[in-house]
Symmetry: C2
Subunit: 352 residues, 2 copies
């Protein structure tokens, strides 16, 4: 990250950044949602955004594809963007991931700023330098690791989010707490995200994003300790895939909340993770997120999805990120299939 | 550059690299020309190439586009490429530029090796980390700066090249000499590239590519002294554009040979570049490359193309890379339009 700013004065910050960079021209990428709900206010408050050429893309992960990317490159061409033009990506993860990739590759790279407008985007998609698009129906199959010139984190946009959207982002904040410290975890489990107030949440976001940053800095290319950030995600991806096949899609944030329950159970079986914390976290999830339901016959299907996960290399065990205790991570821990199956059974007993 | 090897034992070198990298799988990108003329020999001599999945793309700069790139990504998907698969790009600049970009962006980056098969590719396109494709009819509009994991430079493929193709690459070698030293320039002007022998040429290539490397290392992002490598290119691009409009395309290498004549004349007008060297180089070009012909009324058109060149920022002068003497470069030197016009007139007097 070249510059990461936490501020609820977004318009002023963008103008100051533009004053500093002195771009040849400015482009703003939004999707049709942020075009309606976020852009007008920023256009009136920020001279830079007000005078920028607006590029609007279609919302939703299904539009994070080569067609949309090609349209963004085309609009940069049409607007005579040069290597010193600036692209400001304002939106959720789709806009910031795809806009960042477009900027990194247009004329071999122009400066860009990410302004995430969702809690999930703020906590997750804007730090770590992951840019890209889906390709051939595979998520993020084409992309790059490249940091934004600036990321502006603000809670002012979140008043347009539903409780469900807030909870989606909050699952990732809790993940950062679980892999870091009991104190941070306790505070987050005691907080009611659905009735947040902007300034305290901005402070909590700062703490949470610093966690992600510290793991990313230690392992920029995602080959080792950064896998800590995958905590809960192996189960989560399997839950998402099963939900998709049942035509009842599960959001990624909810899947992570449920996946971490299963991952803590497996941590208990494999590494003796303390039951006290397992019970506290599971109660929190049941109360706020409900549960992802499956029956005992579904375990084999879930395990088959996990075996196909790209991080796996052996057919008799599955690699997981697990916790020995809150704040103590083990990455690339191979767990035998028998224990994975047992964890799924215990999950059913605990939450269903 | 992570590793740059000069060798005429290409097959063995590829196998050794594969032994070291232990890739999950190997893909080889060729165009239909290298598929016919180069690939069969490498397939029989190198175990790695023999067992690799072959991706064939259409030859020619007109196919260095998003469609071809998308096909390469698709073939990597179809072949189940993982982040530890290896892509070997064997061909001219189109294959190495586009294959490198595909590798850099597939799953956010997989290892890749470039094996240039033309003199121009060897001397120019394989060092400097420029990857990419044409977009919206603009050359290299989409791309990245990223070094190959290995570049294998060999003269063994050049027996398939025509004299014209050899001269195209040789123009860039002479450029490297002119911006470096009188001694290197003298040796190159005395050598007959069209009757080369492999081993001495490999030594000359080594010296020439080291010149490019040294400029690239000093300025990886191409913002300052690396512009030395653009010597002759502002005129060359204008000649190429005019030739294209006349439906009689001029190859880039020839355009550079002619462009450097004009650039040396302008260097004489602006920086008192010595006439002795100007005359020596001009005689060499006339003898080996002929001349690019235009009449006195064409100067305005050529100047208008140069004014639209992306490196230019002011309408009363044009920025050039010029020489004070052989081996002494000035980058970003603004020359008044009157002197640019004068240089074009003197060019006509000298070569036509």
């Amino acid at each position: 990250m070249k510059e990461l700013l936490f501020t609820n004065h977004v318009a002023r910050t963008i103008d100051e950044m533009a004053d500093k960079l002195q771009p040849a021209s400015v482009f703003v990428l939004v999707d049709s949602n942020t075009a309606s709900f976020v852009l007008p206010r920023l256009q009136s408050m920020s001279k830079t955004v007000g005078e920028a050429r607006i590029i609007t893309t279609k919302p939703g992960d299904e539009n994070k594809n080569l067609d949309s990317l090609s349209s963004i490159w085309q609009e940069l061409c049409d607007g005579m963007a040069t290597r010193t033009s600036l692209l400001i990506n304002i939106g959720g993860g789709v806009v910031t991931d795809m806009g960042a990739f477009a900027a990194c590759t247009f004329k071999r790279g122009i400066p860009f700023i990410n302004v995430p407008t969702t809690l999930l985007g703020a906590v997750d998609a804007s730090v770590g330098g992951k840019t890209g698009i889906n390709f051939n129906n595979l998520k993020n199959e084409v992309g790059l690791f490249r940091d934004a010139d600036m990321v502006i984190i603000s809670t002012t946009f979140f008043n347009t989010l539903t409780s469900q959207q807030l909870l989606e982002g909050y699952a990732e904040m809790i993940k950062h707490a679980l892999i870091t410290s009991p104190d941070m975890t306790s505070r987050l489990l005691a907080y009611d995200i659905t009735s947040y107030t902007p300034e305290p949440l901005l402070e909590m976001l700062k703490e949470s994003i610093r966690v992600k940053q510290s793991f990313v800095e230690k392992d920029a290319e995602d080959r080792g300790i950064r896998h800590a950030l995958n905590f809960g995600h192996t189960f989560a991806h399997a839950f998402e895939t099963m939900a998709m096949k049942r035509q009842a899609p599960l959001s990624h944030g909810y899947a992570v909340a449920f996946g971490m329950v299963a991952a803590l159970i497996l941590s208990h079986l494999e590494l003796d993770f303390p039951t006290e914390w397992l019970n506290r976290y599971t109660a929190f999830v049941k109360e706020n997120y409900g549960a992802f339901a499956f029956n005992c016959k579904d375990s084999d299907e879930l395990i088959s999805y996990m075996l196909h996960d790209k991080k796996n290399t052996c057919a008799e065990s599955i690699n997981f990120t697990l916790l020995r205790r809150v704040g103590e991570v083990e990455v690339k821990r191979p767990a035998p299939l028998s224990n994975v199956r047992a964890a799924l059974e215990i999950y059913r007993d605990m939450v269903l």
